[in-house]
Amino acid sequence: MYRKMLLSTLLVCSFSALSNIVVIVNPANESSISAEEIVRIYTGRSNAFNAVNLAESAPLRAQFDEKGVGRSSAQLKAHWSKLVFTGKGTPPAELASEEAVLDFVANNPQAIGYVGADKVTSAVKVVHTIN
C-alpha cells in the first residue's frame, strides 16, 4: 500500500516535472547566469562551470535541450560529435537521475545542472527557471 502510494507520488512528480525546469548551482557559487550563458555552457562554448546533464533516457533531458539550449536532442548530439571527434571538447557528464544531479551540484562548488522545479532542495541554488 505504502509502496503504491510512493509509486503514484513518483509518477505525479515525474509528470509535473515536465512543466518547469530549474537550472541549479552550488550555494557557494555567487555568479548570476543568463539564458545565453546556459546555452554557451551546454554547447561547449564556455568552460566556466563543471556542467552535468541528465541521461538521454530521462524525459527532462529532451525538454531541457529544446527549451534550455534551443536545439533538438539530435541537433545537439550532432553538434557535440563535431567537437568530440576533432578533439575540441567533451560533452557534460551524463547522470542517471535528478537526485544524482542534485547530489553532484550540492557537492561541487563549480557545478551547474538542472532538475525539475519540484525536486529542488536547499542544498543547491536556483539561478534560472525554464518554463
Binding site: 533538438s72 539530435a74 560529435s81 571527434f85 575540441k88
Partner: protein
C-alpha cells in the same frame, strides 16, 4: 617507419597511461550504399552495381587525459574503399595553454574547409556526403602543429587556428595514384559567429612536389619519358614550367553559414593554385539549403567546379615543337581542364538518438566531356 614509431609511441601512451589516466572511448560509423542510375555512368567510386563498401567507414577514438592540461588523442579508422584496413587517421597530443587556447601536435586534419575536421563524421551534418566538387581536393591530413584560440569580440565569437606542417603521401593525378609531398605548409583559418550567422576564411600555402613520372600519357609513354625527352632536346624550361617540383601552392577558402535551428544554409567558395605546374587553377563553390521538420531534414545543394587548364604553358611551343611531343604536352595540360555542375537532393532522418538515416540523389553534368551521371545513395551515420 616514421608512422610505425608514432603508432607505437601513441599505443604505449595509451597502455602506460591507462592505469592512471582518464581514457574516453568514442566512435562513429557510416554504412552507405549506392548505385548510378545508368549502365555506363560512374560517380564518386560507384557504378550501376549496388555497392555497400565504397563510402562505408568505421572509426574508434581514444582520448587519454593525462592530467596537468595534457591529453593524447588517437583516431583509428577503417574505410570500405581501402578494404577496412585500419590506420591512424588522427594522432596528436593536446596541451591546453589556457581555457580558450590549445596546441595540438601530431597527425592532424588539414583545415581547408568548414567541414574538413569532421567530414568523416556523417552524423555531424545533414548531407549524405560533403560536396565533392569542393571537398575532393585530397591532402586531408598533415603532420605538424596547430594552435587554436577562441575569443569573444563583443557579441561575436571568434575561432582562430594556425597550422604548420607537412604532407607526405598519395595524390591522384589523372586517375593515377602518385607520391606527393607538400612541405612548409602554413595556414590560418578564422571563423566568426554571431547568433545564427557565421563566416569562415582559410588561407594555406605550401611547397608541393608530385612525382607523377609513372603516370602514363599513352601506351608505353609516361610523364617521366616525356620530361626526359624534352630535357634531352634542351627544353628544360618547358619541363620546369610543367612539372611539380617544389612549387608554391596556395589555397583560399571562404564560407558562410546561416542556421536558425529550422533553416540551414551553407556556402563555400575555394580557390586552388599550384604555380609553375600543369595543375589547373581550381575555382569551386557550392550552395546548400535545408529545412528541418522535427526529425526530418530535406536539403538541396548545387556544386560548381571550374578548373581551367593552363594552355599558356604549351602555346609558345605550338610552332616549334614536333607534333609527337606537342601532343602529349598538350594532352597533359588539357587533362586538367574540368567544368562540372552537380545537383544534390536528399534528406536526413533522425530515427534513433544516436543514428541518422540519409538518402541523397546526385546528378553531375561534366561540361568538359559532355558526360552526365546520376547517383542514388542511402546510408546510416551513427556515433557512439
Amino acid at each position: 617507419m616514421k608512422k610505425r614509431v608514432l603508432t607505437l609511441a601513441l599505443l604505449s601512451c595509451f597502455v602506460a597511461g591507462s592505469a592512471t589516466a582518464n581514457v574516453a572511448i568514442n566512435g562513429f560509423a557510416s554504412i552507405k550504399g549506392g548505385m548510378t542510375t545508368g549502365s555506363d555512368e560512374q560517380l564518386y567510386g560507384y557504378d550501376d552495381d549496388f555497392n555497400l563498401k565504397n563510402e562505408s567507414l568505421f572509426a574508434l577514438q581514444l582520448k587519454a587525459d593525462l592530467g596537468d592540461k595534457l591529453s593524447v588523442t588517437g583516431q583509428l579508422m577503417g574505410r570500405g574503399s581501402k578494404d577496412f584496413d585500419v590506420g591512424f587517421e588522427w594522432a596528436f597530443i593536446t596541451y591546453e595553454l589556457a581555457d580558450n587556447m590549445h596546441i595540438n601536435a601530431g597527425r592532424l586534419r588539414t583545415p581547408f574547409y568548414k567541414y574538413s575536421d569532421f567530414k568523416d563524421v556523417g552524423y555531424a551534418y545533414d548531407w549524405l556526403r560533403v560536396p565533392q566538387g569542393v571537398y575532393g581536393f585530397g591532402f586531408d591530413n598533415i603532420e605538424g602543429l596547430s594552435f587554436y584560440r577562441t575569443a569573444e569580440l563583443g557579441s561575436v565569437e571568434s575561432t582562430l587556428q594556425l597550422v604548420a606542417g607537412a604532407y607526405d603521401g598519395k595524390a591522384t593525378i589523372s586517375g593515377l595514384e602518385v607520391d606527393a609531398e607538400i612541405k612548409n605548409i602554413v595556414g590560418i583559418t578564422w571563423e566568426l559567429t554571431q547568433g545564427n550567422l557565421s563566416g569562415r576564411l582559410a588561407y594555406l600555402t605550401g611547397k608541393a612536389t608530385v612525382d607523377a613520372a609513372a603516370a602514363s600519357l599513352a601506351e608505353n609513354f609516361t610523364i617521366g619519358n616525356l620530361f626526359a625527352t624534352l630535357s634531352s632536346l634542351g627544353l628544360s624550361d618547358l619541363v620546369s614550367s610543367i612539372d611539380i617540383q617544389q612549387e608554391k601552392g596556395t589555397f583560399i577558402g571562404f564560407g558562410l553559414t546561416y542556421d536558425n535551428g529550422d533553416w540551414i544554409a551553407v556556402s563555400e567558395i575555394t580557390k586552388v593554385k599550384v604555380a609553375n605546374s600543369f595543375i589547373a587553377d581550381q575555382n569551386n563553390y557550392y550552395v546548400s539549403v535545408g529545412k528541418r521538420f522535427n526529425s526530418i531534414t530535406p536539403y538541396i545543394s548545387y556544386e560548381v567546379e571550374d578548373n581551367e587548364s593552363r594552355d599558356e604553358l604549351f602555346q609558345p611551343y605550338q610552332a616549334s615543337l614536333p607534333m609527337q611531343l606537342l601532343a602529349p604536352v598538350q594532352g597533359l595540360v588539357r587533362s586538367q581542364e574540368r567544368s562540372a555542375k552537380t545537383w544534390n537532393l536528399g534528406a536526413r532522418y533522425d530515427f534513433h538518438p544516436s543514428a541518422a538515416f540519409k538518402v541523397q540523389y546526385s546528378s553531375e553534368k561534366n561540361d568538359t566531356s559532355g558526360v552526365r551521371a546520376g547517383l542514388i545513395a542511402v546510408g546510416v551515420d551513427l556515433v557512439f
